[in-house]
Amino acid sequence: MLELIFAVLLIAAFATLFIKSGRIAAIISLIASAMPLIAVMDWANDFGIKAFSFGVENSMDFSIAGITMHLSITSFAWFFAVMVFSLLPPIFLFSYSFFEKNNGFFPFMLFLITAVFGILLASDFLTLFFFWELMAASSFILVYISRDKKAIMSYLAFSVLSAVLILVGIALLYSQSGTLIFSDIVLNADKVTVSAIILMVAGFAVKSALMPLHAWAPFVYSKADEPFVAFLSGGLSKVGYYGMFFMLFALPGAKILHQYFNSGVATYLLAVIGAISAFIGTLLAFMEDDLRKLLAYSSIAQLGYIAVGFGIGSSLAMAGALFQAFNHAFFKSVLFLAAGAVAYRTGKWKISELGGVGYKMPFTFMAALFAIFALAAIPITSGFAAKWLLYEAAVSNKYIFITPIMLIAGVGAFLYSFRILYGVFLGENRHDDIKEAPLPMIAGMFLLVLPLIIFLIFPGYMLDMMHSALVDAGIGTISHTNYVIRTGTASYNTLAVVIGMMVVMIPAFLIYVLRKQKKVDFKDNFLAGEPYEFYGYISMHAANNFYKPIEDVIMPYLRKGAISFYTALYNAMGRVSDASRKIYTGLSQDYTIYIIIFFFIIVGWLIW
């Protein structure tokens, strides 16, 4: 079964390499990407009762150049697979009309999918690392298509950093536990030292853009093609969290960390990093003018929430984190696709230049509106249930530093969500000539919005999906029915909220129906009596420098942000390499002296 999927994916990838027209390539990749989704779906019934074991029957071993790779599905890998692979068909449907010419997006996207499929199925570290490298390579080429020097360099540097961290981690693990197979390592987990876990977690954290390691995200998200960025921020960052989930919970890394520091300080630190990245991500997000950079920082902020859930580690927090990961995958890809659709029609990225696009592109606007409601965690969308679980976990564990920062980051999400809605879609109608996005694009976006609606009323289904994942990873689950989530401190009944809203909507609807109303164009606006056309053109779009007052208050503190740290690092490395260049003087005598010095160092080290 797995061989068939891998074969289909690779054949499709090589086929689309040589196809010029974007349309055919899109159709092929759409069919190919549906294959893993179907496979994942029919594994769903296996995990109702299956205990956590690596040797589930549909595993596959293949060997390349004498090294045998073991692939088999596990319950938490299945949950992440459902999340990541249900993004792909809508994205390819979207890119059917987004790319006229096949500029290499489809083949490398398919390589990327095979790599992700491989990572999620890997049952030993060698396969994991092999597919991790394949993923890094194919996503690097997809970033390379954007031809932006800064994005390429930063993405290259950080994927190399993450690969090195993971490789050293694997080497340490191999040296301590003698084997690379996951199930064997889990058996003798006590011999695993802390440094291996920290390195691996840091390596995975790079891919999911946690605060100190996030510098690549704003550049890459704002320069690469929209469909790829939608998958990158929606799907690939979740693969990073899959790695962290495996290291901290499946292989009980968290317990080892606790025993080593005999207190929860290490995982608490991860939660603090998550909270800070959520807070600073939101602050940076609502001051951005470029729409995609704004979405990039908001992505960092939302991913910070998941890190907080991983840090706290209780069953409540983990359920919240996985739910948030699921929501984030969907509403972030819808937002990036909406940005792509707007750019496809208007060709502009800056919020201050866009304006009133929603009047002409109502369906894109509706999809973006619902995604933003999910992002801002408004109770009528499934976004709230996830964040509610995280807040409950943080309060019941009495974390007094993280909870206020998380809540403020949640409220801060309203600021940049209004910025997107007003700056791009509403306000003055400056784009009268554009048409609605083509049908495949809208279909793709609405397909992605669908799960947010399903899990709005019935979060219970989502918790059932996670049930086997959480139990297998030894985290225990929380009591819930289809629409009520009960925790130690309180309960949240989504049906009550939805029915309450319907009932309460009646008086409001009555007032709306009370009188007929006249549609008025935005030109007939109150400008203190001034007619709109009188001075030729009065710009009524107040979206430029929108949050200037707070910017002046906050910016001084954020001046020395992470990115300036990396630029300083970059310059420092430049100077060091420049100094070291002086060693190769080309004189043979210097080389002999170097060899002698080196020889003495070795001898000294041996004797000492």
């Binding site: 009133g356 929603g358 009047y359 409601f373 801002a376 408004i378 109770p379 009528i380 964040k387 509610w388 309060v395 009495k398 007094i400 206020p404 809540l407 949640g410 409220v411 309203f414 600021l415 969500s417 209004f418 007003y422 509403l426 306000g427 009520v484 401190t489 309180a490 309960s491 949240y492 009944n493 009550a496 909220v497 309450g500 809203m501 309460v504 909507m505 008086p507 409001a508 609807f509 007032i511 709306y512 009370l514 009188r515 007929k516 109303q517 006249k518 549609k519 008025v520 606006n525 109150f526 203190a528 009524m540 779009h541 107040a542 979206a543 929108f546 949050y547 007052p549 707070i550 208050v553």
Partner: protein
């Protein structure tokens, strides 16, 4: 049993909305008396809303502009559903403080959408100020909320109200400081004078409401009335025991609790009005710095004080 529960809920929500509209008239009367004026009749709120709803012509800037009308009224009534009023737990066993916090955001965002769709630059600047105000007063309020949750070890408002039967939260030393901070945050939520920055009539032509008229403005007036009741009830529930005096289920207990609740929210509203009449309007950066520097600091002190009390 369910029908009786729904009847009680419907009764209490409509009463709360009427109390809100009454308070608007009463509020203007109190402010007028402070100005040594006669001031409008107490039922002025009802007349204003009746006049607005019976306007002959109404304008609309598109379906999103009408969304504001639906969202703002629905959101505020939904919030009142989830707040225990006078000891009567309407739906508040189903949701908790975080839900109420985010339910209060639905009308604000719906209102902002409507203002944005009206295309008026004043409206956009007004909404920017409203969202910045929300961000600024949310920090101290949230810290005091967490202090309460940690102390009572629950996050559901209904349980907090129950645990305050013996002793109101405000009587416990750290919560006096927390109540003061929450009251200043309440000043920001009700958009009373020092913080009526978003709807400043002189600077930005009444901000987000610049283009609202007729029935849309009528709905927003009802929303404003709802916010008065919702925010003051939230404050009373968290710090003043939700007005619960008698605990047996008799009709007398219902009336007594309701009366105490009414008096308490009236006092809280009058306090905020008196602050309203004696302060000019802040600039948005001053308000932001005020909340994030001084208020957040005080709130954090009370939070740590409670944390130490809880651990020991």
């Amino acid at each position: 049993m369910v029908v009786e529960k729904i009847a009680v809920i419907a009764l209490y929500t409509t009463i709360a909305m009427f109390v809100g509209i009454l308070f608007m008239g009463v509020g203007r009367k109190i402010v007028a008396r402070v100005h040594n004026r006669v001031g409008p009749p107490v039922y002025q709120g009802f007349i204003d809303i009746a006049k607005l709803l019976t306007k002959k012509t109404n304008i609309s800037h598109g379906w999103i502009y009408d969304l504001a009308l639906l969202f703002s009224m629905t959101g505020i009534m939904l919030t009142i559903l989830f707040l225990p009023i006078g000891g009567v737990k309407l739906l508040s066993m189903e949701g908790d403080a975080f839900l109420v916090l985010y339910l209060l955001a639905i009308p604000a965002l719906g209102f902002a959408l409507g203002a944005g769709a009206s295309g008026n630059p004043n409206a956009a600047i007004g909404v920017m100020r409203a969202l910045v105000m929300m961000l600024s007063y949310e920090l101290p309020f949230v810290i005091t909320l967490i202090a309460l949750m940690i102390y009572y070890d629950t996050s559901s408002i209904a349980q907090i109200v129950e645990m305050q039967h013996a002793k109101w939260a405000i009587m416990i030393p750290p919560f006096v400081l927390a109540a003061a901070v929450a009251d200043m945050a309440l000043q920001g939520m009700l958009m009373e004078a020092p913080f009526d920055i978003p709807t400043a009539p002189h600077e930005i032509a009444s901000g987000p409401m610049a283009e609202f008229g007729g029935k849309h403005l009528g709905a927003l007036m009802i929303y404003k009335a709802g916010t008065i009741v919702a925010y003051t009830t939230l404050f009373v529930d968290l710090f003043l025991g939700g007005g619960v005096v008698m605990h047996d289920g008799s009709v007398l207990a219902y009336l007594a609790n309701f009366a105490v609740w009414f008096i308490l929210i009236f006092l809280v509203f009058t306090l905020s009005l008196l602050i309203n009449t004696s302060f000019p309007r802040f600039r948005i950066e001053q308000a932001f710095k005020f909340y994030w520097k001084y208020e957040a600091l005080l709130a954090f002190i009370s939070l740590i004080w409670v944390y130490l009390m809880v651990i020991s």
